[in-house]
Symmetry: C3
Subunit: 316 residues, 3 copies
């Protein structure tokens, strides 16, 4: 009978053996978040940003039904180039395996796989969240509930502004997911630096985030994620007026064309990219590269001085 255990790319196996810091990366941004062929180039730049900051990148996805931690370059190209790649949340992983599918992993699935593999830090762009009008549609991303049971640090630029950001912050509180701003007390709005909400907590250095990771483990009380909100500097954000205008027209189009569910995020990102003549795409790429760099710095800080490497709680 087939063995469906997690597989590790060669570079990740080496990192595990040597106790080096590792950063998890998702594949949905490659297959669904960015247009082809930019996505292949950017996927490589993200991995390089992790390496440039002293850690080993582990891009996560599914090939032929196997969960891979540390996709090889050819595997990334395969997910980036295929016509239709399944978007896999946690609940889809075992079904997709039974069907021997290829698939790209969401924030939820990437976090859960990374934590199962003992990786403590994950860089992405933005989280899923509570959709506008979710009190009628009940459309709330599984990212939130997955993070509630997954001990990892997710470095992101907040949640996409196409969502109900206030409701998402409340759900994170209800579900017990830790939230802190990185060198800010304001929750960023993905494309824009300030998303309009205050945060209770701020963390100011990779070392302080590493202390969070150690405290969560030492206390043994919580096993939820930390959402570390890392805003773009104001001079790198999408112009707020352009952002607000684009969001408003995008939401109108959603309603007019009756687009719902999993189709919403790719549609709105596409709308942002076309309406802003590529500026939102450039911002999106800056976000993920900056988050990858910070995640690597945190993984390095968390590994320094601890006898057990933070990259892997249980070395292979």
């Amino acid at each position: 009978m087939t063995d469906f255990a997690i597989r590790y790319g060669e570079h990740v196996t080496r990192a595990r053996r040597d106790g080096r810091p590792v950063v998890a990366l998702e594949s949905t941004i490659i297959s669904h978040g960015l247009p082809h062929p930019d996505n292949i180039r950017v996927a490589r730049e993200i991995e390089q940003a992790v390496r440039d900051n002293g850690a080993v990148p582990a891009t996560i996805g599914m090939i032929d039904g196997e969960v891979i931690v540390g996709l090889e370059d050819a595997q990334v190209e395969r997910l980036a180039s295929a016509e239709a790649v399944a978007k896999l949340s946690v609940r889809d992983l075992a079904i997709a395996a039974a069907r021997r599918s290829d698939g790209a992993t969401t924030v939820a699935a990437t976090s859960a796989i990374a934590a199962a593999a003992g990786i403590g830090v994950f860089a992405t762009g933005g989280l899923g969240g509570v959709h506008r009008e979710a009190n009628v549609t009940y459309d709330e991303s599984a990212d939130l509930t997955a993070l509630a049971r997954t001990p990892i640090v997710v470095v992101c630029a907040g949640v996409k502004s196409i969502l109900d950001v206030g409701a998402t912050l409340e759900r994170l509180e209800t579900l017990g997911v830790s939230v802190a701003g990185y060198r800010t007390s304001r929750f960023p709005g993905f494309f824009i630096t300030d998303g309009g909400f205050d945060l209770d907590w701020q963390l100011d250095s990779p070392e302080q985030v590493a202390d969070f990771i150690k405290a969560r483990a030492d206390q043994g009380v919580a096993e939820a994620a930390l959402v570390l909100a890392n805003p773009l500097p104001a001079d790198e954000q999408l112009e707020p007026a352009l952002h607000d205008r684009t969001l408003a027209t995008g939401l109108n189009l959603l309603a007019e064309q009756n687009i719902t569910g999993k189709a919403v995020t790719p549609f709105l990102l596409g709308h942002f990219h076309s309406s802003t003549e590529g500026r939102s795409l450039a911002v999106n790429i800056r976000i993920i590269l900056r988050n990858a760099a910070l995640a690597a710095q945190i993984a390095v800080a968390a590994t320094d001085g601890s006898t057990a490497p933070v990259g892997f709680a249980v070395p292979a």
Copy 2:
């Protein structure tokens, strides 16, 4: 001091010892889902359907405060014949034990007990879910949250159409519960073959479902249930027009008579049974017998070729 550990019926103890495939069955369908004395006969037919397909039935319930996995025939009769039997969800099990109650276990409690006993497959009729107007009443079945933390396969015919089916599917997604159609890409509507919603995944054989079970365990990432939606063939369903008419009058009666909470499901099932002159009852019985047969085939497939029997992860 009393020992409240799970007790096993003799036939289940034997099956555990011999590593034979086991299928869990609930008792709420006996005590609350079907009218007396049909319920006793049907309970026996369900167990026989499991045996006819090569597995051992383990009907679950509580007698005198003891959780029993594999009720004996006399115990089934006791739950089927009593005037008022407590309906036990997961949260009621330890209180009912402290009170030495009898009780029938819901989908949530049966799943959780079965998983605790190492049983991987459970056959039932339909799941609980999000009630209509739950955004005001907050009435959402504990079945959904229990399945989110219970590694089992629940073979069912969807959720009862008296619920908000769309909202229920969204909650299952948010909570990370796997959902697949058995040889269909449409979510069934319990009494009717097609409930009006598309599914992302389809599984096509007992062996493929067994692969799901193995993949979930091998991956070690998720511990939620798989809701395997097994529709009635179109020629065995309740006539859709009769179904829709009966549902509409039932919902009106609920509102008129101000029936809420745990009283809703038995009331509406009773209304269906009387309004359709017993045809819905016959359909209900066909559903559970078909699900029991499929669950047994899955348990057999999951046991074949694995060194550890799937019936029990840890043989007694």
Copy 3:
């Protein structure tokens, strides 16, 4: 590198060593629930009520980033006297540790820490819950979700009537949190004896609650809390007419002054205290003292006759 493990007060370390019954107590009631300097006196009276009933009190809080189980008197005074003390839910504990903060623990955090320390019983005043208009604001206390994954008995007088009590009871059901009345089948309304809702279950003695604790552990099926609702006797409650009038004016003030989130509970408690000329404060204190006494009796009953002390599942 700093060790962030839970620290134990000397009296709790002794109790652990000797296998004596222990009751957890929260510190938010000290820092945020009661006005200074009454709060210091009451904190001591609560601990004394536990001792008078045969158990050892373990007041829980954070000092300089360390989670303390069993605050010393001087540490209680420090939390009771500071201008602004952070209110820590489960998700805040590791961030506050990384920042070396002081903090008072909520019902959620106190329960989770107590359970991690092996303490089985916790006395408080009232739970957090679903806020009125939460279907718009999504404001639902993390107490509910934390209790869903924390095996403890929380002795309380229900949820504060400033919340949506019906919705809170539904959420507790959905989340699988056990609920029972202590010698009552009506859910109390904190300041008032009868909050207007029926309960499914009643437990009638400390021994019966101890049986619940043992049954939950023996069954091995559920790991949620029991909310044990302990109403004030009718002649000790706040006069119901005064209660209803005060609540109505308080809710109006909230809306007028646009008070939301974490500010709601302290504001409304302050309003009750001032509008009732201190009578609500006296009632509040009676509630917590009675709950502390009952919790101690339960901890004693749970320790008697068991080889492993209930105070600590795993003796230190």
